[in-house]
């Protein structure tokens, strides 16, 4: 907090920072008047108030993102930028081995993660929210419990489940074996058939509280009169849910679909810490962010680094995310207007 002003303001108003000040004429008069006249200093004050945030944001967010777009049109040797290359990087990315294969493989995995997360995580979250909204016993406690993993670092979550899923010593296979389901026990994360799905479910375990809370807030925002009116007209519970709650939940659903899409296509931490930067085994958990990271900073085992390709991937992801965000924002606005 800006403490530099504390001495100038004097001890009397120094206490005003603790409780909201009562704005009696006396307390305002106690504030020391500034030497700059309000009108003359206006421009200067705007500069002082807006300057730091604007400069910081421009230098460390806007500039890097715009440069990243520009970088994709240049030739690169290591980390050194060479001549203008037009669309050459994009052509290489889409049409040459191994880039086009890697891109397709990673993109497909992002799509799978999105679909599975939508069906499993958000489907269960919607069911939980509907149950919680019915005023079950302990709703407040359940809310807090369900949201808890959302605050945990994905590094903790990833490592924890990697230990639980260890093929030999992990508890998951031990539980399956002791339940007489030994035939199901397998190296969940080490088998390229199951690795991506397992990883997606770990991710769902961490995130599920988030859509639950958003859906719950959406359901609770439905006016009671609507529900009462429907019930008076003889609608059953399912009909109320289907024809009153679901349509009014459209904005919440739009937000969750949008955030799930952004999350699925930015997926990085979990595959990185659990499966490594190459998205093993056999690239079965490779996703766009991992591929982008390897192209930008080099792959450990092959040493392959290609900033031109990396920048082209960044541009593709950028276009995808911005386009979907924009569509989502438009849908959201339209649905909110319909409600009003």
């Amino acid at each position: 907090m800006p403490g530099s002003n504390r001495s100038a303001a004097g001890s009397a108003s120094g206490r005003a920072g603790v409780t909201p000040p009562a704005l009696t004429p006396r307390s305002v008069a106690r504030l020391r008047p500034s030497r700059l006249s309000v009108r003359a200093g206006r421009r200067l004050w705007l500069l002082i108030f807006l300057g730091p945030a604007t400069a910081l944001f421009a230098a460390f967010v806007t500039y890097p993102i715009l440069s990243a777009l520009a970088f994709s049109f240049y030739r690169w040797e290591g980390i050194g930028r060479r001549g203008f290359a037009g669309l050459h990087n994009f052509v290489r990315l889409f049409a040459t081995y191994p880039y086009s294969q890697l891109l397709g493989n990673a993109f497909w995995h992002n799509v799978l993660v999105f679909i599975v997360t939508m069906l499993v995580q958000n489907g269960i979250a919607l069911a939980l929210a509907l149950l919680l909204a019915r005023g079950a016993w302990g709703t407040k406690v359940y809310r807090v419990i369900f949201f808890l993993p959302v605050t945990l670092s994905l590094i903790i979550v990833g490592f924890l489940w990697a230990l639980f899923l260890n093929p030999i010593f992990g508890i998951v296979n031990k539980l399956l074996t002791s339940a007489g389901l030994a035939f199901l026990a397998r190296p969940w994360l080490g088998d390229s058939q199951t690795a991506l799905l397992t990883l997606t479910l770990i991710n769902a375990w961490r995130w599920i509280g988030f859509p639950t809370i958003v859906f719950l807030a959406g359901i609770n925002a439905v006016p009671d009169e609507y529900l009462e009116a429907a019930r008076l007209d003889g609608a059953g519970e399912w009909q109320v849910t289907r024809h009153v709650i679901f349509p009014l939940l459209a904005p919440a659903v739009t937000i969750i679909v949008l955030l799930t899409f952004i999350g699925s296509f930015n997926w990085f931490e979990l595959p990185y810490v659990v499966q490594g930067v190459s998205g093993g085994p056999n690239r079965s958990t490779d996703v766009l962010s991992l591929l982008f990271y390897r192209m930008a900073f080099g792959e450990v085992d092959t040493g392959l680094q290609d900033i031109g390709i990396g920048s082209a991937i960044a541009v593709l992801m950028f276009i995808l995310l911005v386009a979907v965000s924009a569509i989502g924002a438009v849908l959201l606005r339209r649905r909110e207007v319909e409600l009003a």
């Binding site: 909201p20 504030l31 705007l46 002082i48 967010v61 990243a68 005023g135 016993w137 508890i171 959406g218």
Partner: protein, 276 residues
Amino acid sequence: MTTTRLPWKVAVQVILLANAVLVLAPMALMGLSAFKSTREIFQNPFGIPTVWRFENFARVWVEARFALYFRNSVVVTLASIVVILVFGAMAGYALGRFRFSGNDLLYLYFLSGLMLPIRLGIIPLFILMRNLNLLDTHWALILTYAASGLPSAVFILTGFFRALPTDLDSAARIDGAGEWLIFRRVMLPLVRPALVIAAIYNLIPIWNDFFFPLVFIQSDRLKTLPLGMTTFFGQYYTDWALLFAGLTLAAVPVILLYVMLSQHFIRGLTAGAVKG
């Protein structure tokens, strides 16, 4: 709500309870395993520890350098949050309370940052930090977090400042109070709830961030907790007792904070996705 039959209520409780167990059991197991020996974890994974080995935590704290990683995480997170709140509040105040040409445009400019995935700019950001000689320093992290956290703070605070009655600053201004005093002593205390939301919205993602330390930090003594944990897991991968102790130690502060402030956390982290 409506009168519901008892069997239905029981069924609802069973489902909710099952999900609560699914959330809590892995964490309880993590906490219990942290007190066992590696041998005991393998032989008796679900039982209560026969001997409670607090020394696991001591070893993680000192030997595995968790004390250091914690301190780095605290320094980087707090510094970033302070910058975000101070600069964000100043900008939000100007955008919310002053009319000037370009106000809307500047507001939209900041808002665009809510959508832009800053990670995609990591290559230019890396080169920029290298040119500024900030690679492998905490400054690289603080500047990146502060800049990428500003849009959310500006968005949340501008809205709050706008909603305050206009008489407030006019009265103070007529009495001759300077702009900075009006901002600091009159307006800022009134938007404290917004400051809390903006702080929590950014606090957890920054504390948990792994991507930027991975790119910017090389020296072990500068690593934040998430990055330090990957080093730790690489070094001690056979010593499960230590691994569980490390995971527990890393999770406990956030869990405690969450339990104390759960309503603020839920509201802060879902800000933007939930209205009101």
